[in-house]
Symmetry: C2
Subunit: 398 residues, 2 copies
């Protein structure tokens, strides 16, 4: 062939999420947008907070050469300092993150691809925990890793530690965790995280080389229980890289702005940080969008309207449970992970489409028999969709 075959396949095979979304658009053209109940995408429905627009307007009144110019590859110093100050204020100095441990990125996907390219050498393995965001596999394989999947722990979507322990081996370079989780909405408890870090420390010592913890946490601020604890993982484990994005907390998914935080307590911190810079360079990122970098110091601490998501969760979770659907109650993010009432989630999704309900089957998340329902939609859409869910339920146990 004249092109790279694996790239061609990745471009031709649409993700099931994207395919469902596009079916929704076609269907909306046929029967009207208000009659299609699209729960497929994780595109925030809550507007960016007013502070974002105000900050951008103020910046546009300043010097355009400075505003739109290249920043250093690791990010403008003012942005890195503001982020480090904000993190230290919220999580303490013990997280081991100063301004020079941050590398600004074009969003969460870039945070992951850059981190993985920085760490992975040929033959390395990267561990993911089912259910997981399907692109983890794409990103890790592109970096040259073999992906190993820890099967889902289905009672509370924590971690099946015996299964994880059986998978770890001297070739394990990194493990990706995602809490709050896409697609389940589950939070990893402090106990789960401490057990994980204990195991990683013990196995790293046994193998004589570190296993890195990649914390993919775009949903960090989307947590509904005010008493819930979401530890900053560099405080628990030195060999941690935090992969963050402002996509969800500031409702800016299209703007591509996030960061990698490299814990400065890891002994080989300089090599890891250099490799992050090298990977960003080799992949062609140059710098994160400069106006978004300039905005950050003015909006840190602000977040979108979480109440809408909480209201959506309560309405949808309560209603579906009442109808007889089964689902672990999500503590964060904006997804419900609902058990399919028949073994094949694809068949269930096809049936749901008969009622104009667009759900995403769980197979590509590495965990069969569930559907993901994204509730980052208008509360009104959820309300109008409930009769359709009821008719769907009636097909199974009516």
């Amino acid at each position: 062939m004249s092109v790279n075959e694996s790239m061609r396949k990745l471009g031709e095979v649409r993700s099931v999420i994207r395919e469902t979304f596009e079916y929704g658009n076609r269907r909306a053209a046929e029967i009207g947008r208000e009659n299609v109940f699209d729960f497929s995408l994780g595109n925030p429905s809550v507007p960016a907070p007013a502070e974002v627009g105000n900050a951008l307007r103020a910046l546009l009144d300043g010097d355009p050469v400075a505003l739109h110019g290249y920043t250093s590859a690791q990010g403008a110093e003012a942005a890195r300092r503001a982020i480090a100050d904000d993190l230290n204020r919220r999580f303490g100095e013990e997280i081991g993150i100063g301004k020079d441990d941050l590398y600004l990125t074009c969003g969460a996907a870039a945070s992951l691809t850059v981190s993985l390219h920085a760490l992975v050498e040929p033959g390395d393995e990267v561990v993911v925990i089912a259910p997981f965001f399907p692109e983890y596999r794409v990103f890790a394989e592109q970096a040259g890793a073999v992906v190993r999947v820890v099967p889902a722990e289905k009672t509370a979507f924590q971690i099946d530690f015996p299964a994880l322990r059986a998978i770890l081996n001297p070739k394990t370079k990194a493990i990706i965790v995602n809490s709050p989780n896409n697609p389940t909405g589950a939070l990893l408890t402090p106990h789960t995280l401490q057990t994980l870090c204990y195991l990683l420390r013990e196995r790293s010592a046994a193998y004589g080389r570190p296993i890195y913890l990649l914390s993919d946490e775009p949903y960090r601020e989307l947590v509904y229980d005010p008493d819930a604890e979401v530890p900053y993982l560099t405080a628990l484990y030195d060999h941690t890289l935090v992969c963050y994005s402002y996509s969800k907390s500031l409702s800016l998914p299209g703007e591509r702005i996030g960061y990698i935080a490299v814990c400065n307590r890891m002994p080989e911190r300089d090599a890891v940080y250099a490799a992050v810079c090298g990977a960003g360079r080799a992949l062609g990122f140059v710098c994160a969008p400069s106006m978004m970098q300039a905005m950050l110091p003015r909006v840190l601490g602000v977040s979108g309207d979480l109440e809408t998501y909480r209201r959506n969760r309560d309405l949808l979770y309560g209603s579906l449970c009442e109808m007889g659907f089964r689902c672990v109650r999500p503590d964060g993010a904006f997804y419900l992970f609902v058990e399919s009432p028949e073994p094949d989630a694809n068949a269930f999704c096809a049936r749901a489409r008969e009622y104009e309900l667009l759900l995403v089957p769980s197979d590509s998340f590495g965990c069969e028999g569930y559907v993901r329902v994204s509730y980052c939609v208008s509360t009104e859409q959820i309300r109008r969709s409930l009769p359709a869910f009821e008719r769907l339920a009636a097909r199974y146990w009516g």
Copy 2:
């Protein structure tokens, strides 16, 4: 090692351009910014046109969910349509570029890394023409290619065709051209381009597989002769991918916005476009910054103040020639490529630093014995630097 060694090295070895720039900042802190004559960086000194700020302000008054939301991976349809319309208006329909042949990117570097990953298979070779932007080697090698360098044609910085012909072989996947050129400012003439396309067509036929032409053209609009012809290469050669960026034409280098245009006359167009989409996905680009995409339809056809660059070129080129320096007169971009008056350009740059003149030696551009002088600075800086250049000249032939 616990990290990827080649990424670590890429992150540790600063480019000489970046190193020179940072020396300039240290020196400015010591002796005052106005006493350091930094000609190292290609960061546009001309502000973004007023239309850019006006368009962004108007967009910020609209719906933030739409403005900051994910676009489709290939780019928002409105942006792609506007770009295609603009290109067809300027270069005719025969360029073979419609809205669905465009893939929006996070700037020129991303256009190149995505295109190279889309095309290159293990064992493939990518040809570059000296002198060339040093990151071409990084990008092509990261995509898995072996880089082959055509030595510089030093009389006019066109192409040494016998040397190129000797390098082409059945493993040649692509050749990168860059006109107007960084670092020489030279334009490839229509005759050079036609000869190149003829040779590529002939060799592709002989090898039974296409050699792709990657046209890296962030400087397309920075051409000083109003009669100069800058052909759109898809019109000349079907197997062309144009890698464009708005960094220089709109003075937005930090914002990361550009595109790849895949000529739709190539028979395997669908496979190439799919591979571009797949590569963007695998590298973690997700989409180009959404607000910049939304801005494009409002500003296409506008460009920064070219007159400042022309004035800078005339002043600096004329003055240096008068002093006895030798240099091919640049037709575009914002660089002078000056012959070093001693064989070792690094020694010449070290001597220039004694006069606070910060120049970039040409070795990393694949062509020894020159220095690159970036004149995207204030005209005032050029004027104040001239006595320093005179004293430097006096060291050699005073």
